[in-house]
C-alpha cells in the first residue's frame, strides 16, 4: 500500500485554502504510517475541531472528529479501550494548547501511547484568524490588531516538561525530516509529540507581512536551526537568525508509558 491509498478521494475537494501547509503534514504523516506498515484496520485517527482537525475526514480509516480541544481525551479512551489500535491524533495549536491545554499536559504526564501531530499555524485558522496561545508576541490577528501582547507557548518545551517520551519540531518546509520525526514518534512507545509549523496564508501570512505563500515557507527555512546546533552557536557566541525557531528532536526517552500494546 502506498500513502496515496490512505486518502479518501470521495471527500475531495478538501477545505484547505490554496497554499495551506496542512496537506503537507498529512502527506508526511501518511508516509510514516505507510512505512510503519500499519494496516487500515488497526489504525485510527482522532482529532478535535479546526482546519487541522479536519484531516481524519480525508483518510480511509476509522476516525473520531470530536469537540474542540478534547482530541487527546477521546484518544485516551480509544487507546485504553483497545490498545491494539495504532492511534494518531491530528490537532491544531488552538485545539491542543488553548482550549485543550489541560488534556495536553495530562496526556503527556500519563505518557499514553499515542502519536500526536500538531499543525501549528500560530492562529485560530478555521474561525478566521484570532490570536492563539502560539501567536508570537507582536504578531497581528483579528483579536490582536496591534500585535499580540502575550508571550507564546513553546509546545515542545511544554510536552517535554510534562513527560512525553518523544518530542520533535519541524515545519512544512522540512518534508523529509518531518516524515522521519513522525515515523520515529510512531516507533517510540508512550506519547510522541510532533509539532509541525505550517503556513496559513489566509489567516496568518497576509496579516503578518508574508505576502506570498512562499515567503512564509522561506521564513520557516531560513529561521529554523537544528536544536543541537543552536546550543553550540549560543555557547560559541555565533550569530543566528532572529527570531530563531529551534527544530529537531527535543527528547527521546523511555519513561513508563500507558496503553502500550504488549
Amino acid at each position: 500500500m502506498t500513502y496515496q491509498e490512505w486518502f479518501r478521494e470521495d471527500r475531495l475537494p478538501h477545505i484547505y485554502c490554496t497554499g495551506c501547509g496542512n496537506g503537507t503534514v498529512i502527506n508526511c504523516t501518511l508516509m510514516a504510517v505507510d512505512e510503519m506498515g500499519w494496516k487500515k484496520e488497526d489504525t485510527a485517527f482522532i482529532s478535535g475541531i479546526g482546519c487541522s482537525s479536519r484531516a481524519p475526514g480525508y483518510i480511509v480509516t476509522d476516525s473520531l472528529h470530536t469537540t474542540h480541544g478534547r482530541a487527546l481525551a477521546f484518544a485516551t479512551g480509544v487507546k485504553l479501550g483497545n490498545p491494539d489500535l495504532h492511534v494518531v491524533v491530528f490537532t491544531g495549536d488552538g485545539d491542543l494548547a488553548a482550549i485543550g491545554g489541560n488534556h495536553f499536559i495530562h496526556a503527556c504526564r500519563r505518557n499514553i501511547d499515542l502519536t500526536v501531530v500538531c499543525m501549528n499555524n500560530q492562529i485560530y485558522g478555521m474561525t478566521g484568524g484570532q490570536g492563539s496561545p502560539t501567536t508570537p508576541m507582536g504578531a497581528l490577528s483579528t483579536t490582536t490588531p496591534y500585535g499580540s501582547a502575550e508571550p507564546a507557548f513553546d509546545l515542545c518545551e511544554l510536552a517535554m516538561a510534562a513527560g512525553a517520551n518523544y518530542v520533535s519540531r519541524w515545519t512544512s518546509y522540512h518534508v523529509k525530516e518531518l516524515t522521519r520525526a513522525v515515523l520515529t514518534g510512531m516507533q517510540t512507545p508512550g506519547l510522541s509529540f510532533i509539532e509541525a509549523l505550517v503556513q496559513c496564508p489566509t489567516n496568518y501570512g497576509r496579516r503578518n507581512k508574508f505576502k506570498q505563500v512562499l515567503d512564509q515557507v522561506e521564513f520557516m527555512r531560513s529561521h529554523t536551526v537544528l536544536i543541537q546546533k543552536l546550543k553550540r552557536m549560543e555557547e560559541q557566541g555565533e550569530k543566528f537568525p532572529d527570531p530563531v525557531i529551534p527544530v529537531g528532536e527535543f527528547v527521546r526517552r523511555n519513561r513508563p508509558a500507558l496503553g502500550v500494546k504488549v
Binding site: A98, I99, T127, G128, T142
Partner: protein
Amino acid sequence: MMEIMEGSHAVAEAVKQCRPEVIAAYPITPQTHIVEALADMVADCSLDCEYITVESEFSALSACLGASAAGSRVYSATTSQGLALMFEVCYNVAGMRLPIVMSIVNRSLGAPLSIWNDQQDSISLRDSGWLQYYAEDNQEATDLHYIAYKVAEDHNILLPAFVCFDGFILSHTYEPVDMITQEQADRYLPAFKPYQKLDCRDPISFGMYATPDYYLEFRYEIDQAMKRSAAVFEKAGKEFFEMFGRDYRSPVEEYRLDDADTAIVAMGSICGTVKDAIDEMRDAGKKVGLLKIRTFRPFPSAEVKSALSGVSRVAVLDKNISLGAKGAVALEIKDALYGSQVPVLDYIIALGGRDVRRKDIREVVSNAEAGIGDLFYGLRTEVL
C-alpha cells in the same frame, strides 16, 4: 441614525455603547464578527475596557464571573459548543446573581458538527437562571442588549441575560439598523451600580456551600427574581419606547392574531418569514396570525394564554427539540393553555440550518388545519 450594518457589527456597536468594563470571549462561528469588532474598539481606545483573549469559553465565562463579582459591567458572546462548554459556569453566574449580559448567536449543537442555525444551544440552558430574550431582526437584536443590561442589573432582579439571535441569518446579514447615540445610550443605561461586590473592606463570600437547609431557598429566590423580571422588562421597554420610539414593552408580539383561526407561535428570525406568509394567506382568505415569543425566560404564560384563547388551533414552530419529548416552546404553550380546548400542534423545523420559506409556513398551516402535527417538518425520509 439609520445605517446599513451587519448584524454582528450593530450588536458590537450597541455593546460598546453599554460601556462594558470587561469582555472575555473565545472565538466561535458565527459569533466571531462581534468579538473581533469589540477587540478592535478596545485596541483603538474607542472603548475603555479590558478585552481578555482567554483560552476557552469555559475560561471566558469564568473570567466574566470574576470581573462581575469584582463590580464591573461585563459582556461576552458565544454560541453552540461554546455555550455548552459554559454550562457549569452559567449555573454559577445565575446562582451568584451576577448580571452578566451575553449574546448567543444561535447555532445547532453537535454531533454531527454543524455551524448553521437553530436554537438548541440557548434552549438547552433554559433551566439555568439566565433571562432569555430572542430577536427577530437586527434592530431588535441590537436594542435588546440595552434592555437586557437594564433588567439584569436592576437590584430587584440581579440575574444574567442571554440576548439570542439567529446565527448567519441575522449575525451575517446586512440590514438597516437605527443606532442610538452614545449620549442617548448613557441616558438610558447609567453606569453599573453593583448591589454587592468583592471588597476587602467589607468582605463577602460568593458561591459558598449551602446545606439542604438553605439550598432550596436559594433556588426559590432565583425563581422569584425571574418572575419579578417580567415587570422590569416591561418598564425597561416602556422607557426605551418613550426615548427611542421602538416598542419592546411586551414579552410577546402579536401579528394579525385578532380574528385568527390558526395561530403560529415562533421565536427569532423565522417570525419575519412567518409574517410574510401570513400576509399571503390572509390575501387568500385564510385567517392566520402569529404570536412571537420575545422573552422565553421568564416565560410569559399569562400573555400567551390571553393571546391564544380565541383561536381554533395553535401551530408551534420549534427550532429545537427536547429529544424524547417535544420542542421546548410547544411544551410551554401547552402548559400555558392547560385546561383550554385549543389544540397545540408542534413542528420541529429548521434544525441545523434547514431553510424555511413562505411555502413551508403555508404547508405547516395546512397540516395544522388537518390536525396533523407533532412532527419533524420537512423530513427527508429518503435518507433515513
